[in-house]
């Protein structure tokens, strides 16, 4: 049944190799806990720029813990392991510094900030990241920023009224996810972790979000799509698929693995790989 899947128990990587620089993300032996309870154990992943990976797993397998840990949510405690991004271990860095390095997380539940318009927020974010990476650089002039924003929104086929609304405040589920993709487009990250971006979306919104992500995928962007369902992978094609179960990656493979999961279910695949 599983003989056509190339099973890799943790992708062995040399932390000194070329792969570790050039905006690749190399996670080694990562162990994470919340309130003294181990959630992730011995996670190994290597995502190079230009690659699209999917991490699939049932509820409670630790998918969101991985994305939040990589972005630096204070609730998650790293017990051991490293996550090298562009040659630096990011796990002890403040969240904003990770963002400034080019790491982006698309939230499963984007948080609303009443009273702050999308445009103002995006301008602050763009200037923070530009300023951190190049302290000599002056903040982007307002007119230039709005031109850039307009261009990005045109590519994503978004309505221009969107940016005068307060950040995620009163947004529908679909609008929130569209807003995440717009942020990703504006911040131009090198590595994007999309945490259950497909959850709660109807088919139109799903297609919109997937089209947006596809328009951003390119040789300079690495992507990790975290999802419960195969659905989004019909639109965004990963080269690598990993299955997370009880805090461990139990099986990795190519795109065919997601189809197998869809056909057989997690139980069957996990049983065959334990």
């Amino acid at each position: 049944m599983t003989n056509n899947i190339n099973i890799k128990e943790g992708l062995e990587v040399d932390s000194q190799s070329e792969d570790n620089r050039n905006n690749s993300l190399v996670i080694k032996n990562l162990k994470v806990s919340i309130d003294d309870k181990i959630i992730l154990n011995d996670i190994n992943l290597n995502i190079k720029k230009g690659e699209v990976h999917a991490l699939m797993g049932p509820n409670g397998s630790g998918k969101s813990t991985l994305s939040c840990t990589l972005m630096g949510h204070p609730q998650y405690k790293v017990e051991s392991g490293t996550a090298m991004f562009n040659g630096k271990d990011i796990l002890q860095m403040p969240t904003n510094e990770r963002a400034c390095m080019g790491l982006f997380m698309g939230f499963q539940y984007p948080v609303s900030i009443p009273g702050v318009s999308m445009a103002n927020f995006l301008r602050m974010a763009v200037n923070s990241i530009n300023g951190k990476n190049n302290p000599e650089k002056k903040p982007m002039p307002i007119a230039k920023f709005h031109k850039l924003l307009k261009e990005k929104m045109a590519i994503l086929k978004m309505d221009s009224s969107f940016t005068s609304r307060y950040l995620n405040d009163g947004f529908s589920g679909g609008e929130k996810k569209k807003a995440e993709i717009l942020q990703m487009a504006m911040l131009e990250p090198h590595m994007a972790i999309l945490d259950e971006t497909d959850s709660g979306l109807d088919i139109d919104a799903l297609r919109f979000v997937a089209d947006g992500v596809n328009s951003l995928i390119g040789p300079n962007l690495g992507v990790l799509i975290i999802t419960h369902y195969k659905r989004i992978l019909n639109y965004i094609k990963p080269q690598f698929v990993h299955v997370l179960y009880k805090g461990r990656i139990v099986v990795s493979g190519g795109p065919e693995l997601s189809q197998l999961l869809e056909d057989q279910g997690y139980e069957e695949i996990i049983k065959n790989n334990e």
Partner: protein, 467 residues
């Protein structure tokens, strides 16, 4: 300076005062009949005002201190200068101004000349010429905009007709104190049907005595007229004396509209106890936009008495309580006629152990039908030591009313911070952004330059770089 032209002998005779010469031009601490008479005499006031002041003093001395609100026990009424001539108040040396106040001016980007004035160390302000041009335009329309002392001299009939009709001395102890010792403040009169489209800004004439400690403001908007009055600024107002007690009276007649915007940032030693009240007649609209920063204790509840059918009131109150500060602010709406409507929106932020309270009154008199009122108060606490309380009072004597009251207390959440920081903002930038979003509904109502300064000031507060 207006007080420089006194003829001593003439006045002494006129008002039958006898006092040693040294008392005449030197300010004295404390409060008694003599001092109150002296203030009136030095200002060359008509007799009715002198009598009014003395009667108010009696009321002040008899009235007990309020037993609610903030802690006023630290006020020593006998250790305050109740009248300082403008020429004296402008004589402070820039070197005497505390360094932290100077630093804040620098961070806010206040121009040099303005800085000195704000700190009471300079009497000239460069935008005075701008003000004079505007004044000419207003005068053509019959608009009067001057300080209260000038108004009492030059427009005494109008002043006499309205003065103290909205806030009588017996209203409260501090209104009585102001009535006895008032000095400066603004006088605005807008004739029937006149639309004053440029805001009347006290800011333009801050050297004209209106930033005194006991200022008295009287505003009359005749039927169908419109005006917007703006006072204060976000730079801290440095006062060596620790009591600021103002009275503001506003009359908005039939079909008229008026907005009164205040942004004040008192230095942290000041007790800021202000009575602001407006009367709105038939189909009139009165709006208070009130921003309170700084001070040791602020007690201020702008109120609107809706006395004609269809009158409307809107009160926007914003308070920021930092270390050692208590902001007891809110608003009062009194519905005395049918089809009247009101909205109160209050936003408070507390940080570094600061305390903010919302105190509001909604009153509907019997016979006032179809009254609508919405009250919303939101508090944001930035740390564990800070505190927020809500005291909404309602007295409804009529059945057919529609009333909504919402209140919330929130903290800056970890999830909000994480979200914003994941987009590259530092923790301080993220917190400041959440706070500026919180106050946005009120800041967006401010004139542009105030809104910009306000956000800048909040950012400085958040960074802990201003006291």
């Amino acid at each position: 300076m207006v007080t420089a032209k006194f003829d001593l002998d003439d006045k002494e005779e006129k008002y039958w005062f006898k006092k040693p010469e040294s008392h005449v031009f030197k300010a004295k601490r404390g409060l008694n009949k003599e001092i109150v008479s002296e203030i009136s005499w030095m200002k060359d006031e008509p007799e009715w005002m002198t009598k009014f002041r003395l009667k108010a003093l009696d009321i002040f001395l008899k009235k007990p201190m309020p037993t609610w609100g903030g802690d006023t026990s630290g006020i020593d009424f006998n250790n305050i200068y109740y009248y300082i001539k403008p020429s004296d108040s402008g004589s402070r040396s820039w070197d005497d101004v505390p360094q932290d106040i100077k630093n804040t001016f620098d961070k806010l980007g206040i121009p040099e000349a303005e800085k000195k004035f704000l700190a009471g160390a300079g009497a000239q302000y460069e935008s005075e010429s701008v003000y004079h041009n505007l004044k000419e335009e207003w005068e053509k329309k019959g608009v009067i905009f001057c300080d209260m002392d000038t108004a009492l001299r030059e427009h005494s009939d109008i002043v006499k007709e309205y003065f103290s009709t909205i806030v009588p001395p017996a209203d409260n102890k501090f209104a009585a104190l102001n009535s006895a010792v008032w000095s400066g403040g603004s006088f605005v009169y807008v004739p029937e049907g006149v639309n004053v489209d440029i805001p009347l800004q006290a800011y333009f004439r801050i050297n004209a005595e209106n930033m005194g400690q006991f200022e008295r403001t009287l505003i009359i908007i005749e039927p169908g007229a419109y005006a917007h009055y703006v006072e204060g600024c976000t730079a801290p107002i440095y006062a060596t004396d620790s009591l600021h007690t103002a009275v503001v009276e506003v009359i908005v007649k039939k079909d008229a509209r008026f907005r009164y915007t205040t942004i004040q940032n008192w230095s942290p030693n000041v007790y800021n106890l202000v009575t602001k009240r407006a009367v709105a007649y038939e189909n009139a609209k009165m709006e208070w936009v009130d921003g309170n920063l700084g001070s040791k204790l602020t007690m201020k509840y702008p109120s609107v008495y809706m006395m004609g059918r269809g009158a409307n009131a809107e009160i926007l109150s914003l308070a920021f309580a930092g270390k050692g500060m208590h902001q007891d602010a809110g608003g009062k709406v009194v519905h005395g006629a049918s089809d009247t409507s009101s909205t109160i929106i209050s936003k408070s932020i507390s940080q570094y152990g600061g305390q903010s309270s919302y105190r509001g009154l909604l009153k509907v008199y019997k016979g006032a039908k179809n009254v609508k009122s919405q009250v919303r108060c939101d508090a944001l606490l930035l740390d564990e030591e800070s505190r927020s309380d809500t005291y909404p009072y309602m007295e409804i004597d009529e059945d057919k009313v529609s009333i909504g009251h919402e209140a919330s207390v929130s903290k800056i959440g970890d999830e909000q911070l994480f979200y914003l920081m994941s987009r590259g903002l530092t923790e301080a930038q993220a917190s400041a952004m959440i706070v500026s979003g919180f106050i946005e509904p009120i800041v967006k109502e401010l004139p542009m330059e105030y809104a910009v300064e306000m956000n800048r000031l909040i950012q400085l507060q958040m960074e802990g770089s201003v006291g």
